[in-house]
Symmetry: C2
Subunit: 228 residues, 2 copies
């Protein structure tokens, strides 16, 4: 039976912000480190990746291309439905630019605490985000060829969390699913397809350590993994 | 802030069965391998374990003792509330002894598919199990001393899954939480205590590979990780 590995992109190389649809880069060094750690992991476990499916956002796409080159995979597939949630007006705005604006900061804080109850201005709704991610997941499943190797999906924290909610039949409106579950940068989540459906083997296994947390100047903790 | 690591015991050395309160051993070789892999992991990440809290069942307790010796921890604490669920009349009965009894087998299969809807004869109810595990978790939290090192809890698949359901506010009656989420043998789940509560950093990270699955002679797949 096939396996699907969900890899979150590496730590982003930009000011702390809520990065959704906004492009932000990951340093080539970070990407290279992830490629090496992933290569080691695949080798140790004798895993043959047959396909790479990627979010088209640059923090995923460049990594996907490097992985494909490293693993001798001819072509990667891009799926726009694997993009991170669109956070609307504040998407990509550095926290340092807004954290003194109590109104904006309060909106962001409420969103973090409960993204369904407190949607952001001009942002994608969580319901719509869930719908498109589940569609993306169905598309991935349709690519599975059990005679061939496994699939690597390179995507975002929100997307991986939404796929997991779908597989485990967890209500994606549950705030704790966002606030209390980390999907770290450069972490790997393993899903095995079995006769009784998709089985989650591990969640958020870090490939690269200590690359998942940034702190704001204000002292407030911003957790990129929640938002990018 | 303190970290709590939940370690599931290793692959059991007994016939495939639903092991709950029944004692079953793990080979000394398997335990030794886990001790080594865990030691490596702790060293790589510079983690200092201050306390080991263990289920008193032998498949956890012997491992805990070996870890304590390896990590120079004076004494381990046992908590009976960290025992696996009591599966009642069929607890510890080898599947090979009953799989030809269609009635018993059907009860077991229904239980696997939906443990709330189909409780087993003389077994602990999932509600009561949840209650005692949450109590055990509260006891663990009360042991946390932020000035000191981290805590290792050695316990069972069902217990770890129940702690996670509690932390993530997931309905423990959700059958998919049991059927679709693996907590592999010798896997490590990392919980970081932060100001905003317990944050799950990774789930089911395997320390020892390929030790989590057994197959029945009948060809039916029995997954110890669901039951022990």
């Amino acid at each position: 039976m096939a396996n699907i590995y969900l890899l979150r992109h590496g730590k982003v190389d930009g000011p702390a912000a809520l990065y959704g649809h906004t492009n932000v880069t990951v340093t080539p060094q970070e990407n290279q480190l992830i490629v090496e750690k992933l290569g080691q992991y695949l080798q140790d476990k004798n895993i043959q990746i047959e396909q790479v499916i990627s979010s088209p956002l640059i923090r995923c796409l460049l990594l996907s291309e490097q992985i494909a080159a490293d693993q001798n995979i001819g072509q990667i597939k891009q799926d726009t439905a694997l993009k991170e949630m669109n956070f609307g007006r504040f998407d990509g705005t550095p926290f340092d630019d807004v954290h003194q604006d109590k109104d904006i900061w309060s909106q962001l804080e409420k969103f973090w605490q409960n993204p369904v109850q407190h949607s952001l201005p001009e942002a994608e709704l969580l319901t719509g985000f869930s719908y498109r991610v589940v569609q993306a997941w169905q598309n991935i499943l349709s690519q599975v060829n059990n005679d061939q190797g496994d699939i690597l999906v390179v995507s975002h924290g929100g997307v991986i969390r939404m796929i997991l909610a779908h597989l485990l039949n967890i209500d994606f409106r549950n705030p704790n699913w966002y606030t209390q579950l980390a999907i770290g940068y450069a972490s790997l989540t393993h899903i095995k397809l079995t006769e009784s459906g998709a089985r989650v083997k591990h969640i958020g296994k870090p490939l690269v350590e200590d690359s998942d947390r940034v702190y704001l100047q204000s002292g407030l903790k911003a957790d990129h993994k929640e938002s990018a």
